[in-house]
Symmetry: C2
DNA sequence: ACATCTTTTTGACAATTGTCAAAAAGATGT
DNA sequence: ACATCTTTTTGACAATTGTCAAAAAGATGT
């Protein structure tokens, strides 16, 4: 068995980086989180189910989409180092409406909702850390709301290249197109137009 | 002078409703927040400035927009009972890129960033309350990202009516159109098509 | 009640993007 | 190296939405 070659964090390390926590809390987090491996194409969270877990991507990539009129609308795409879940399902405790799918072979670390609640109770300082994490993710969600409202397909793509360019040579264009609210063909034409014009 | 006829909350009451806080914290919040009145059309937060305040809308309505290629893209619209700020500016402490504008005569309650930081330090339980508030607002931001990606103008409008219908007979259609990522003319046509077909 | 300003609707036409189909290019497993 | 499967590109055309202009409807202040 080869050692992991990736350098991404554990859940406890991620929390500690945001807001330093005691060894006891780190232990609690390490004890209550588990590693999880999924193959490309597997479904992490299915619509209609309850989502009781938050995932940290150690390796791989994940996307969320909703079905709308036969089509899939990609809401977000995330890779290593990011926390993912069904945002509405996990926090509202209502059945999930989207699908969360692993789009590369992935290694995830899982935290259970109930364990997190106990953590907030027992170790109040973790509320500080999670408040800060949510502040950051809230900003990201706002970004996603802005890019999707740009009126021209070309501006959306330009914005995507500027802000999420690292995903370009990694994830299939069909997911990028769907994330940008356009068809694969439109994205392909924009890309060829751009490469011809310089 | 007539008594306020609206029943909306103070900042301390809002926090207390999410997570019960002590009288001391309520006092701290009441002491550090101030009421603020703005006329329709006034700018609450301007691009390029630093945003150091979070606002609770007691009465009125507020929207945020970014300028993109000469056009305004409305990111959100909020009314009484909602907390608003420059989401990225306030939390990142970087200059603001959007404009936040009062679209009705409004009464706002203002909380200063630095006062909030002191509150988190002095009264750790407020981190619990704000964590929960952020969980809720994070879900809303996710909704905004989904509605904007719907491929057809008509589905966006239907979704808006279902989820934010109470804003329909209140705020100008031009802001709704902009929020839905379409022109005022397109929205007007969709509405007349719908009223004709039933 | 009237004039004025703002918001919304309607029309004609143009531009952008989507749909369907097929080909080309690239990736994967043996 | 080859066959197969997946992803991306290209073309022709249709549908949707945007643009510009003008009219209609509604709101506001005196």
């Amino acid at each position: 068995m080869v050692q992991n070659s990736f350098s991404s964090l554990t859940m406890a390390e991620l929390v500690n980086n945001i807001h330093p926590i005691s060894a006891e809390v780190r232990q609690y987090i390490n004890r209550t989180t588990t590693e999880y491996r999924l193959k490309k194409g597997e479904i992490l969270i299915a619509p209609g189910t309850m989502c009781t877990r938050l995932y940290l991507i150690r390796q791989g990539a994940v996307r969320a989409y909703v079905k709308e009129g036969g089509q899939e609308i990609t809401i977000w795409v995330c890779a290593e180092g990011e926390l993912v879940t069904s945002i509405r399902g996990f926090f509202s405790r209502l059945p999930v409406t989207e699908t969360v799918e692993v789009i590369e072979d992935s290694v995830l670390i899982t935290a259970e909702y109930d364990d997190m609640q106990r953590m907030y109770d027992r170790y109040p300082e973790t509320n500080i850390a999670v408040r800060k994490i949510l502040e950051r993710y809230y900003q990201d969600a706002e970004e996603r709301a802005i890019i999707a409202r740009m009126p021209r397909a070309e501006s959306k793509y330009a914005y995507f290249v500027a802000h999420k360019g690292y995903l370009l040579n990694r994830i299939p264009l069909k997911y990028i197109a769907s994330y940008l609210g356009m068809t694969l063909e439109t994205l392909s034409r924009i890309r060829s137009r751009i490469s011809r014009h310089k």
